[in-house]
C-alpha cells in the first residue's frame, strides 16, 4: 500500500520490513526461552552479546563511530520490539543516547557497555538505569554556560544501587566534579536534543509494551471461559479491550509522527518539541487506560509474579515518567498552544510550529 504513495502527497514512515521481521523473530524466541519473571530485572549479558553481534546495540549510531547507521524508523522498531519482550538490556541508554553524545562530543567509543545520565550541578545523577552494569557512564553536564560530555569509567564514580518501579537497576551516581569539568564541550542544542531523544525513545519502548499487552489481553479473553463462554464474548470485556487497543493505536500514531519528523529533518525540525510532546502526552495518558484495562481484563492471574503482564505494565509506567513527567510535557504543550493562540493553533497541530499569522 505505502509503495503506491506519491511522495508529493504523502510519505511512508515505516521501518525496513526485513529488519522488523528479523527483530520480531529474535525477540519472540527470546521471550519463549527466558525463565519465569522475577521481582527484579537484571542485565542479560548473553542477550547483549547476541545483539552486539547483530549490530543492534548501536543501531542508529553512525558507521564512522562504530554504529550501524540505521534510521530512527528502524531504531524505534528495535526499541519497541525489545520492550515488548521485556528484554533487560540498556539499548536506549547505550545505543541511542550514550553513543550519540560521544559522537556529538567527538569522543571515541570502544563499544563497551555504557549508560547515560544528566548529573546536577553537585555532580549527582538519579535513576541511572543499568549503572552497575556499565563499563563507563556518559554524563551530559551543564557546566555554567557550557554543555559538556564526559565519558567516566567505572572506577571513577560512586554508585548507590537502586531499582525503579519495574525492578530495573536504577542507581544514584556521584561524580567527581573535576571529571565532569574535564568533559568535551558540545553545542547547546545537544542538551535540548538529549531530552527530546530520550523522551521519544521511551515513547517507542512504551508503545512496544502496549502492543504486546494487546496481544496478551486478546489471547486471554478469547481463551478464558466463565459462565460457559469465553469472557471476550461479554460486551463489558470487549469494551475494556477495545478501549485499550484504541489508546495504544493513538499512542503509536503520535510516536511514529514524532519519529518521522525527527528522521526526516535529522532532528533539526523546529516542530520537534511539539511532536515529541504530543507523543509523550498521548503515550503517558494511554498508559493509564492500557495498564488499568489490561489488568482488569486478566483478572487475578494477571496480578501475579509468574504472569508476563507485569513485565510490561510496570516498565510502561516507569518509562512514561522519564525525560519529563507527563505533567511537564502537558505544560510544555499548553505553553506552545497558548502562545500560538486562536489563529495559529491549527498550524501548531499540523506542523509543530505556530507560523506567523498571514
Amino acid at each position: 500500500m505505502s509503495a503506491s504513495l506519491d511522495p508529493r502527497l504523502a510519505r511512508s514512515t515505516s521501518a525496513d520490513p526485513d529488519l522488523v521481521a528479523m527483530l520480531s523473530q529474535l525477540f519472540d524466541d527470546y521471550r519463549a526461552a527466558r525463565s519465569a519473571p522475577r521481582e527484579v530485572i537484571d542485565f542479560d549479558a548473553e542477550l547483549w552479546a547476541r545483539l552486539d553481534e547483530l549490530g543492534l546495540t548501536r543501531l542508529t549510531a553512525s558507521e564512522q563511530s562504530g554504529g550501524s547507521g540505521a534510521s530512527w524508523f528502524d531504531g524505534a522498531a528495535l526499541l519497541a520490539l525489545a520492550a515488548g519482550a521485556g528484554a533487560p538490556v540498556p539499548l536506549l541508554e547505550h545505543g541511542f543516547l550514550a553513543a550519540w553524545l560521544l559522537e556529538a562530543a567527538g569522543l571515541p567509543n570502544d563499544g563497551r557497555l555504557r549508560t547515560v545520565c544528566r548529573p546536577d550541578p553537585a555532580g549527582v545523577a538519579l535513576n541511572v538505569t543499568y549503572g552497575r552494569d556499565a563499563a563507563s557512564i556518559v554524563a551530559l553536564f551543564e557546566d555554567g554556560d557550557e554543555w559538556r560530555v564526559a565519558d567516566v569509567p567505572v572506577d571513577r564514580r560512586s554508585i548507590t544501587r537502586g531499582r525503579n518501579l519495574a525492578g530495573e537497576p536504577s542507581e544514584t551516581v556521584e561524580f567527581d566534579l573535576a571529571d565532569l569539568a574535564a568533559g568535551a564541550t558540545v553545542e547547546e542544542e545537544v542538551g535540548e536534543q538529549f531530552h527530546l531523544r530520550g523522551a521519544l525513545a521511551r515513547c517507542a519502548q512504551v508503545c512496544g509494551a502496549f502492543e504486546r499487552i494487546v496481544e496478551l489481553v486478546v489471547a486471554h479473553v478469547r481463551e478464558r471461559e466463565q459462565f460457559g463462554r469465553p469472557i471476550g464474548r461479554f460486551q463489558a470485556v470487549q469494551r475494556l479491550v477495545a478501549d485499550l487497543a484504541a489508546e495504544a493505536s493513538l499512542a503509536r500514531a503520535a510516536t511514529d509522527t514524532a519519529v518521522a519528523r525527527a528522521t526526516d529533518s535529522d532532528w533539526t525540525d523546529p516542530g520537534l518539541l511539539f511532536a515529541v510532546g504530543v507523543a509523550k502526552s498521548c503515550v503517558g495518558h494511554a498508559a493509564s487506560v492500557v495498564v488499568r484495562n489490561a489488568h482488569q481484563a486478566l483478572g487475578a492471574i494477571g496480578t501475579t509474579l509468574e504472569h508476563e503482564l507485569h513485565t510490561l505494565t510496570k516498565p510502561a509506567l516507569a518509562r512514561r515518567s522519564e525525560f519529563g513527567s507527563i505533567h511537564e510535557w502537558d505544560e510544555t504543550l499548553t505553553r506552545l498552544a497558548t502562545s500560538a493562540g486562536h489563529d495559529r493553533l491549527w498550524s501548531l497541530v499540523t506542523t509543530g510550529r505556530a507560523a506567523p499569522p498571514h
Binding site: 500500500m1 502492543e211 478501549d243 484504541a246 500514531a253 511532536a275 510532546g277
Partner: protein, 382 residues
C-alpha cells in the same frame, strides 16, 4: 503479532501542504470579510448554499469525482486536507457535507451511468444538497430493522414509512433511503434491503422539523406516503442495500469531522488562557496533543481508503477516540469557566453550542458502543 488496528502514519507531502495553505488563505479572507462567523459543529448545523457553491467554483468539492463527471479527479488525501481546513475554521459546510463525503463515492461505486451523469456534476458544483435516510423510530443502532417498505409497481417502487433524525432534510434536495423490499428473512436479517435516491420534493414526502435541545432545527422526521421512485433511481442492486451501506462506512467514520467539531472552541480557549480570561491549565496541552495524534491517525486511514484497503476497523478507532475527545473538549472548557460570562463573549457562544451538540457526537454515524463492537471484532473477540 496482532495485526495493527490502524494503518501506519504517513507524513504530509509538499503538494498537500501547498493546497492546505491555499485553502487556509481563502478561508481567512472569508472570515475577515465577514462571509461567515466561525462556529462549532458546522458540518451538521450550518448550511450556506452560496458558500458551498463558491467552494465548488474553486474545485474543492467533488474532488475525488473523475473529471468526466464534473469532478476533479484528485485523491482522497487532497480532499482530506481541504476538509480539515474547512472544519478547523468552523466554516458553514453542512450543505455539501453528506453529498461530498458519501453520496459521491457511493454513486461512483454503485450508481448507473445515467445516475452518475445526473448527480455527480451538480455535487461537484455544490448545487445539490443531500441527506441520509437510514434511521427510523424503531431502527437506530439496529439498522437492519428498518420498516420503510418499497413496493414494486409499474416502472418503479412506492416507498412508505418514516425516517427520523434526518439531518438537513429541510435544506436538502434529495436523500438516500434504506428500505425493505422483501419480506424479512429470519435467517439473514440483512437480506431484502435496498437503497433508493429519493427527491425530497416528490409528492407524498412530508418533512417535519424536530427541534434539538438548544431550540435549533437540524433534525427532521421525513414521512414517505407511497412516494413513487422510478427504477432508474434505485441505487445499485435491489436486495443489496445492506452491503452497499456498510461498504461506505470507512468514508463516513474516519474523517476529520470526527475529531474537529469543537476545534474552534479549543482554539478560542488557547487565546483565552493566554490573555488570562481562563486559568492556565495543563488540560489544554493534553487535548491539543490528542487532536494532533487524531489528525495523523485519520490521515493514515485516508491513505488506506485511497489505496482501496479495508478500513472499517481503523475508521471505528478514529471515530471512537475522536468523537469522545471532541466532546471532552467541550466539557473540559466548561470546567474552567464560571458563570457570569457576558452573552456575546466568543468563548461563551462556542462553549454553549459545543455543550449542546456534544451528546450527538458519540451517537451519529453509529454509536460508540456499537463501534467498540466493531473494534472488538477486528481484534478477533467476536
Amino acid at each position: 503479532m496482532t495485526r495493527a488496528l490502524v494503518p501506519p502514519v504517513v507524513t504530509e507531502g509538499p503538494d498537500l501542504t501547498k493546497l492546505r495553505l491555499e485553502v487556509r488563505a481563502f478561508l481567512d479572507d472569508q472570515v475577515a470579510d465577514g462571509r461567515f462567523v466561525p462556529h462549532v459543529d458546522t458540518w451538521l448545523t450550518r448550511w450556506d448554499r452560496e458558500f458551498t457553491r463558491e467552494l465548488g467554483r474553486r474545485g474543492w468539492l467533488g474532488m475525488t469525482i473523475p473529471t468526466e463527471y464534473g469532478g476533479h479527479g484528485r485523491t482522497f488525501l487532497e480532499r482530506f486536507v481541504v476538509t480539515e481546513e474547512l472544519l478547523v475554521v468552523g466554516a458553514p459546510v453542512a450543505a455539501q457535507w453528506v453529498a461530498d463525503r458519501q453520496i459521491g463515492p457511493s454513486l461512483l461505486r454503485h450508481g448507473t451511468e445515467e445516475q452518475k451523469r445526473a448527480f455527480l456534476p451538480r455535487i461537484a458544483s455544490g448545487d445539490l444538497v443531500f441527506g441520509i435516510g437510514m434511521s427510523e423510530p424503531d431502527a437506530g443502532s439496529d439498522l437492519a430493522g428498518v420498516r420503510t417498505r418499497g413496493e414494486r409497481v409499474d416502472d418503479g417502487w412506492r416507498l412508505t414509512g418514516t425516517k427520523v433524525w434526518t439531518s438537513g432534510a429541510h435544506e436538502a434536495d434529495a436523500f438516500f433511503v434504506l428500505a425493505r423490499t422483501a419480506q424479512p428473512d429470519p435467517a439473514d436479517r440483512h437480506a431484502g434491503l435496498s437503497q433508493f435516491i429519493v427527491d425530497l420534493r416528490a409528492p407524498g414526502v412530508e418533512i417535519r422539523p424536530i427541534l434539538s435541545m438548544g431550540g435549533d432545527h437540524h433534525f427532521n422526521e421525513v414521512h414517505l406516503d407511497g412516494v413513487f421512485v422510478p427504477d432508474e433511481r434505485v441505487l445499485g442492486q435491489v436486495g443489496e442495500g445492506w452491503r452497499q451501506v456498510t461498504s461506505e462506512l470507512g468514508f463516513e467514520r474516519s474523517g476529520p469531522e470526527r475529531f474537529l467539531s469543537t476545534f474552534q472552541l479549543l482554539a478560542e480557549a488557547a487565546s483565552a488562557m493566554d490573555e488570562g480570561r481562563l486559568p492556565q491549565d495543563v488540560g489544554l496541552g493534553r487535548h491539543v496533543a490528542r487532536v494532533a495524534a487524531l489528525h495523523q491517525m485519520s490521515f493514515a486511514v485516508a491513505t488506506a481508503l485511497e489505496a482501496h484497503a479495508e478500513a472499517d476497523v481503523a475508521a471505528a478507532v478514529v471515530k471512537v477516540l475522536g468523537t469522545t475527545s471532541e466532546g471532552d473538549i467541550a466539557d473540559y472548557v466548561d470546567t474552567l469557566t464560571a458563570t457570569g460570562w457576558v452573552e456575546d463573549e466568543e468563548l461563551y457562544r462556542l462553549l454553549h453550542a459545543a455543550i449542546l451538540q456534544r451528546p450527538g457526537f458519540t451517537l451519529r454515524g453509529g454509536t460508540n458502543e456499537i463501534l467498540s463492537g466493531v473494534i472488538a471484532r477486528g481484534l478477533g473477540l467476536r
